[in-house]
Structure formats: structure tokens, C-alpha cells
Subunit: 198 residues, 4 copies
DNA sequence: TATGAATGAGTGTTCATTCAT
DNA sequence: AATGAATGAACACTCATTCAT
């Protein structure tokens, strides 16, 4: 169960590939093992069970992403700028790894309730990040004073998520990154920020 | 396969109850048959297969809902008013049938990709309705001229969906209907509409 | 799970054959199903799980045997005669169904502790029968007054069981039934009964 | 594979502990290795395979026991006295090492047929010892002239074995040693010996 | 129409054994 | 001699669907 050995990430990356290409329900442990170039049994030296592979996958990938964004945001002053950075980073992250995008946006959502609850725990870190930006925006008078933080967070996350899911389901037929600007404008307007062109 | 016989809706309603109470992965055909008071084999006189039950369920329930909203919206003049009506109706619909809410917001999303694609077909009718309101809002100068219709639609649907999902996952612990006003304000602001209090 | 349908006994008899011929650890459910002439899944319409097949097997076969002996014994007057009847019946039963003998004497004993505990429950009926004969023998002054009933029962059962197991492990090379007389004499002597030839 | 190195007995003793505490089916090689304080692979420097550990265990422990009894019996004159010594020694041996008792009476019997045949080879030394006492008893006119030696041996071994097994399965709740006298009386009576109190 | 007994394909996980170091 | 990471074969059980009645 040593999570710092090379085979740990090797198996997780193999799981991403197999799930993305074959789909969640066709991602048998034996297929993941084959893709990772290890024996079936070796999987269980690094993960408790199949579910543990999927949770670990989400934690590693989403966890890294959240840390990445936190770093990028730290350099920005206003909530509006921070939100732009978050939107851009999110779209870049998704567009940069199509396999991972398919896995997190489509395939992993068909998992059972237990797994989804654990995935939600990981997501909470991301939602808290959004909350912090919204609260800051209100305090700095960038956003409406009477803005409901939870609703604003649900708008920001729901909109980005829906945008990304639509894009993934379209087989990435159009340019996702160019949507960052317009998307950002909608979200800050929704938060009560008055953009110039309005 | 006659869809107008009483047992057709009887089976669909049984499916809603079973899925809501037991969860998607515990909703075996035999359980649905038992709940509907028919034999397992009878199911296959009305539906091609299990997937067909779920698609039909979504079509019947969501189809009714779309028709309902279309009627309500027809009586409104402005896009802003129409959007408020849509948000209110959506929240009322969800809050009014907790079984159906659990099924559509949580359980049916665990279905495989094929089923989800077919569910999306049904949703398209709803998304078109939103598109129509957005286009009208732009033409009537209520919304920004340069508003991206697809993005606006994704914001509106994504935000409502995320709000409802969060509420369902919280076991409906708070009042959903009272969120309609604030939710609506965020969405129209996002579309470039200047509300009074801003 | 209806235990009075023909397939119930059909599956149990198939299990006896497969276990006797292939051994306990090679008696996969699929082999039993094939031998019974039914599909794998059909097994589970009649038994909860594999363990349930084995317990039921023991209950049906041993249960019948105990009833059989009880009937035969009822016709006898003295404890000595009853014990002879029990020994003869036991040896006849075993010698009459070599498959069943292998299963109960050798194969089923390799089962796990849970299963063995349940098998012991069934055996208790047999042990109680022995106890009754011993108690009667003491009361009727056929056996020693100070005979320890539990020890006598362990001698009677242990001796018969060891005799039968040795015979089964020898591949039934010699005549088992002819041992009934000498075996019986030893046991009643052990209980304090004075046989003529002594 | 040198059986006189310290680790040989170290591993056997570890096997006794692990099997007694966890049960036969939970006694994985890795657990035995851990208990013995050696690496998994080291086991295979001293034993051909897992079965070889168990056979060796039985040989070492039972072999010692047989030698012990042979010595004790040598000092006795009559077959009746020798049998008493055997019964007492057997019960003392079992009662003195509860781990070993569990292993030999309960756990090792769940092994497969091959292993049981090899265990029987070890037991033959014990059975021959019993045979010798019985033959001597007949020759010395202590036992019946027409006593069947094999049956007598099966009675003696089967009775002791059943008594011990029942005691072990009862979690050693009562005093086993005090049964030696009554047990012995039953056995010699069974062999045709007339005890005083009869 | 309606029934429900029967079907049979499909998979996560364990653990004795090996072998490069 | 000793290690322990890696191997890979093996199997009980579920449930959507069928079809004889």
C-alpha cells in the first residue's frame, strides 16, 4: 500500500486511460493491470480494492488541480481576477488532458453512491476555494452586498461544470479555452459586478 | 408495447418509487415488477428492455414538465419574467415530488453513457426553451447584445441543476422555493440585465 | 427457495456425486449444476449459497437416516437390541451409498468452521438418540449403574465413526456389514454388559 | 531444507500458533512467516511447500508424543495398565498444549484428502502401538480371545479421539484428565476385561 | 395478455510460490 | 542464507431476458 512507489501512479494513469477509452463499466481490474503493465495481483499491493483505485485517482488528480489553482490565485488581487484565473485554469486543465476530462466529467459519475460521496469530499476543497473568492468579492465591494454565497458558488461551479460536460460530450469539437472570457463575464455579472461593456 | 394502456404508467411509476427508495443499482426489474403488481415477464410487453423503462420514465415525466412550463411562460411578456417563471416552476416541480427529484437528479445519472445520451435528447427540449428565452431577452434589449446564447443556456441550466442537486443531496433540509428569487436575480444579472438593487 | 420441488433433491444428489468423485475443493457450483442438468443460476432458486447446498445435503440425508433408525429402534425392547439395530443400520446406510459415505465421512469434514458447526447441529439429533439408548440401558440394569452417559455416547459414536472412516479410506475393500456383530459386542461390553462368551 | 537448523522448529511452532489462533483457512504462509519472524521466501528454504509445513508439524509433534508414550508404557506389565497409561498420557498431552490440541483435533482435519492421507501415515505409528497392547492383552488372557484387534484399535482410538474433539470444541470447559479413569474402564470392558465393580 | 421458472454470461480478489537482489 | 515484491490462476453469485404454459 505504499503510495510513493512508481507503480502507484502508473496504475492510476492506466486506470484513467482504460476508463476513458472503454468506459466505467468496462474498466475491469484486469484491463487496468494490463494497461499498467503489471499483474492483476500487483494492483492489490497498492490499492485496497477497485473502488480505492478510483477514489485515489480522483484525489490525486483533483487534489493536484486544487493546489495548482490555489497557487495561481494567490498572485491575484481582486476577486474578479481570481475568478478569471480559476475559470481559465479549470478549462485549461480539462482541455489539456482529454482522457482525464472524460473520466471525471462522464465516467466516474456512474459510480455507486458510496464512491460518489467520497468524490464529493474531494470536491469540497474546490467548492471552499470558490466560496472564499465570493466572500472576498463581497467584502471588497466587487460583488453585490446581498449576494447569497452558497447560491453564487452553485452558479459558478454549476456553470463551469455544465460547460465542460457539454464540451466533453461533444467530443471536444470546439475550442474550450476561448470560452473562458465570456464565461467569466457572465459569472461576475451574476455576482453583481458591473462590467464595462454592459 | 402499447403505451396507452394503464399498466404502462403503472410500471413507470413503480420504477420511480423503487429507484428513489433503493437506488439505481438496486432497482432490479423484478423489484419494479413487484412494486407495479405485475409479473416480471409482463414488463417486456410494455418495454423493450430495462433501459427503455428508464428512458420512457424520463420522457414522460420531463416531457410533461416541459409542456407545463411552456404553457406558463406563454402568459409572460418579458424574458426576465419568463426566466423567473421557469426557475420557480423548476424548483416547484422538484420540491413537489421528492421521489422524482431523487431519481432524476441523483440516481439516473449513474446510468451508462448510452442511456445518458438518450436522456440528453429529452433534455434538449428543455434547453431549447431556455435558448428561446435568452434569444428573446437579447432581442428585446433586456440582456447583453454580445451574450453567448449557448453559454447563457449552460449557466442557466447548470446553475439550476447544481442548486437542485445540492438540495436533494442534503436530504431536502432547507426550503428550496425561497431560493427562486435570488437565483433568478443572479441569472439575469449574468445575462447582463441590470436589476434595481445593483 | 421451494424445497419440495423435484429440482431441490436433484441438485442435492448432484452435489453428492460431484463431491464424492471430485472432492470437496473441486466441487464448484458450476460442476454441481452441470451434473444436476440445470443452469448455474437455477441453483440459487433453491439454495441461498453454496454452503446452503452442503448443509441441506447433510440435513436431508442424515435427517432421513435418523428418522429411519428411530423407527427401527422403536420395535426393540432392550437397550442392547436397540444398540445392535443402530450399529447395523449405520453400517448398512454407509455401505449402501458409497458416494454419500465418502461425502459425509471424508469430504464434508474439510469444510470451514461455520459449516462444521451447522453440521454438528444435525449430528446432535443422532447423539441424543444414542444418549437415550444408553440411559435406558442403565435404567433397565443392562449397563453399569455408574456408566458416564456422555463418555458412553462418545465411545459408541467415536467407535462407529472411526470404523466407517477407516473402511471408506480403504476404498471399501472389505465387508463392512459383517463387523456389526463384533462391534456391537465391544460397545455393550464397554457399557458394562456381560455377554455370554465372555 | 536442513531440518536441524533452528529456524525449522521456529517455523513449525509459528504454524501451530497461527493455525490455532486464526484457523486453518486463515493460516496463510505470509502470516506464519511473520509469526516466525522470517521472510515469506525463507519458509521455502526449509519446506517444499505449505503442505510440507503441516505434515512436518504433525510428524514432529505426534512423533514426539508416540516416543513419549512408548517409554512410559515400557515400565508397565499388564495390557490394562499399559492402556491406562496410554489414555492418561493422551489426555495429558492434549490438555497440556491447547494450541496443539486445536490444531490436531480441529483445524488440520479441514485439510484436503492428500494431506489427510499423509497425516494418517504418521498416525499409523500410534495405531500400531495400540495394536501391540491389544494383542498383548489377548495373549495374556486379559482380553477376550476372540477380540478383533482392528476393531478394538478403532474403538480405542475412535473413543479417545471423539472424547478429545468434543472437549476441544467445548472450549475446554471441563476437566479432561478426570475422564481418564472412566474412559479406561469402558475401553478395557469393551475388550472383554472384567473390572471389579461390574 | 399474463405469468414466473429457468437461463448463463461476466469479474473482483486472494495467496502459494518464485526469483532477482 | 535471506529477502519480499511480483505473479496469475481460479470461482461464487446476480439479474436482465426468454418462452412454454
Amino acid at each position: 500500500m505504499k503510495r510513493n512507489r512508481p507503480k502507484y501512479m502508473q496504475i492510476i494513469d492506466a486506470a484513467v486511460v482504460v476508463i476513458a477509452e472503454k468506459g466505467y463499466h468496462q474498466a475491469q481490474v484486469s484491463k487496468i493491470a494490463k494497461q499498467a503493465g503489471v499483474a492483476d495481483g500487483t494492483i492489490y499491493l497498492y490499492f485496497r480494492n477497485k473502488e480505492d483505485i478510483l477514489i485515489s485517482l480522483f484525489q490525486e488528480k483533483m487534489g493536484n488541480f486544487i493546489e495548482l489553482i490555489e497557487g495561481k490565485i494567490a498572485g491575484k488581487t481582486t476577486a474578479v481576477e481570481k475568478l478569471l484565473m480559476l475559470v481559465e485554469s479549470h478549462l485549461e486543465w480539462v482541455a489539456g488532458d482529454s482522457h482525464l476530462a472524460i473520466v471525471t466529467q462522464l465516467e466516474l459519475r456512474q459510480s455507486n453512491k458510496d464512491l460518489r460521496l467520497k468524490i464529493n469530499d474531494v470536491l469540497k476543497g474546490y467548492l471552499k476555494l470558490i466560496d472564499k473568492i465570493v466572500v472576498e468579492g463581497i467584502e471588497r465591494d466587487e460583488f453585490r452586498k446581498n449576494l447569497d454565497v452558497r447560491l453564487a458558488r452553485q452558479m459558478i461551479f454549476g456553470t463551469i461544470d455544465e460547460t465542460v460536460t457539454t464540451w466533453v460530450m461533444s467530443d471536444a469539437k470546439y475550442d474550450l479555452l476561448s470560452l473562458a472570457g465570456p464565461l467569466h463575464q457572465m459569472l461576475v455579472n451574476g455576482c453583481g459586478y458591473q462590467t464595462a461593456g454592459n
